[in-house]
Amino acid sequence: MGLELAGYDAGRALGALWSGAFGSWYALTSATLVRSVPLVVIGLGLAISFRAGAFNIGAEGQFYAGAIAATWLGLHVGSLPSPLAVAAVLSVAFLAGALWIAVPVLLRVRYGVLEVISTLLLNFVAEATTSLVVQGPLQERQGIYPQSDAIAEVARLPLLPGTRLHAGILIALTGAALLHHLFSRTLWGFQLRAVGLGQRAAELSGRIDGRRTAAAALAISGAVAGLAGGIEVAGVSYALFQNLSPGYGFTAIAVALLGRLHPLGVVVAGILFGALEAGASAMQREAGVPAVAVYVVEAVVILVVLLAESIRRGGMAGVAAIGSATGTARARG
């Protein structure tokens, strides 16, 4: 309807959206799932931090930190055997993500600075850093284009034959299964939940260090977002450049929420949003509808989910988690 008002052929646009996302085996694997991997991986990490009531809005920056580190190491591991090179590249990306969020974690624990603000601010620093390194230390050999050289072949993730889908999807799915186990079967999963529902109350029970639990959850979410950046470099782009991420770090917030902070939910939501973004590219190519229009759809989905949730539970519980999390950070500030 909105499309027709804007003067587009709605039938053609929606057809392109569908076929671009699910229309063929190639579209499903090489367009939709390739885009789903970073969303699912980042979304899983965010689910951890959101469960603990800690708001990491800086996944975009941590993603870039991971991508920078992965590219740097990926250029230097040509002599290693492949599995080792891949493992090294992904590990360093994970560490870089953790390092990038260490500042907001420290600021929250020591100075009571709201992580919502500090992680957001660091996104801009990360984007500027990416721009700096692709025109500086990591620029391609000829020194013309603002991008890096391609990383060593041994450092690349294997592809599913005939497609562009890489082994990152296995990391995403394994991570989801692991997290499902951790959330539902371990003490740590319980502690996260308890802290998220109310840090004070969790601490009063005497068995949970709320500050440490929340800080650890925040740190892990950053590390995982960094890992996603490493996977993107090792599996899709093979090189670093500006705008490597079309906003994965922000869309993943919606993915985590829509998946109700549940690992399997995050996988489903990640595939849905990956499909939307894949379909949007096709829609732009074939029906001339700007791909950014898909953000409107995503926004509406988030707002509708929020409305539905608040109606379902009479507008309380989950929101109290956030209120208390920001409240405790503030009490120290």
Partner: protein
């Protein structure tokens, strides 16, 4: 000698010009947060204001653009208010969604209206107005008193908002709502209406900030042109300790940090320009850390 005076004068003028949209947005967000609502959507509201101002200015004139910008900010703020106040949904997530939606909406409308290339826009802008007498003061004259009307509006808003917040009954009710909605409600304050109004007023400021960015600073629209200024405004509110005067000072300091890049470009220092792009954000982080123990947010901020 005169050269360095010109250089410093130019730097100060740039600092104020860059600071204006951030100061406007942060002043509005101060009102919103004082009522207990954390609006991360002001980034999107600024962006919507910027595009609406572009459309209005192209169609009619600069001041129509300003009005369109304010209207667009208020419209998005009303949607945000509906979700977080009407349905008591989470403010951080709803705000992020509003910004995401605004990026999509403005991108789509912009391409629809001006084509994919975005064609060179010829916009009527808000020209600098030299205040008679004051403008001839050395250094400060060109910096403070030869600015577009929107800058004067931003400075005028500081005492007005201060007076409204701290010297009127409505302001008292608004602050009480932000500190403890329950107590305020018990003493007869219609807290939800107060928060809705504070949010929509904040949206009007954000829309005006976006309009200022287009009509008084950049001179044209580009997709995602706010580039995080709305988020910066939120940090500025904290740095300014939720007080209009503190917020104005913090915004000007941030504007100065951003304007440093122009100064260093003129000086032709051999440093990567990206360092100056990140400097303001790093400084803001350091300043936030430095405020430990000396600042307190409204107690009911971000609670439903």
């Amino acid at each position: 000698m005169t050269e360095s005076v010109e250089l410093v004068g130019g730097f100060l003028a740039a600092a104020v010009r860059v600071a204006t949209p951030i100061m406007l947005a942060a002043t509005g967000e101060t009102i919103t947060q004082r009522s207990g609502v954390l609006n991360l959507g002001i980034e999107g509201m600024m962006l919507a204001g910027a595009l609406a101002a572009t459309l209005g200015a192209t169609a009619v004139g600069a001041w129509t653009g300003v009005a369109f910008g304010i209207g667009a900010g208020m419209l998005l703020a009303a949607v945000f208010a509906l979700v977080v106040i009407g349905a008591r949904a989470d403010q951080v997530i709803a705000g992020t969604a509003i910004t995401l939606g605004a990026v999509g909406l403005t991108g789509t409308i912009y391409r629809q209206a001006y084509g994919a290339g975005g064609a060179g826009l010829d916009l009527p802008t808000l020209a600098p107005i030299a205040l008679p007498g004051l403008a001839s003061i050395p250094l400060l004259g060109p910096a403070l008193f030869t600015q577009p009307a929107s800058t004067y509006l931003g400075f005028l808003a500081v005492p007005v908002v201060w007076w409204l917040l701290f010297r009127t009954r409505a302001g008292l009710a608004l602050r009480a709502t932000g500190e403890s909605a329950e107590v305020a409600r018990a003493s007869g304050v219609p807290t939800r209406r107060v928060r809705a109004v504070a949010t929509i007023v904040g949206g009007a400021f954000a829309g005006l900030a976006g309009a200022t960015l287009v009509l008084a600073q950049v001179g044209s629209f580009a997709e995602r042109m706010t580039a995080g200024r709305g988020y910066v405004a939120i940090a500025i509110v904290v740095l300014g300790r939720w007080h209009p005067v503190g917020v104005a000072v913090a915004a000007l300091a941030f504007g100065a940090a951003m304007a440093l890049q122009f100064l260093f470009q003129t000086l032709e220092l051999d440093l990567p320009y990206q360092l100056f792009l990140m400097l303001p954000y790093v400084l803001a982080l350091l300043a936030l850390a430095g405020m430990v123990g000396r600042v307190r947010a409204p107690a009911d901020l971000a609670k439903p």
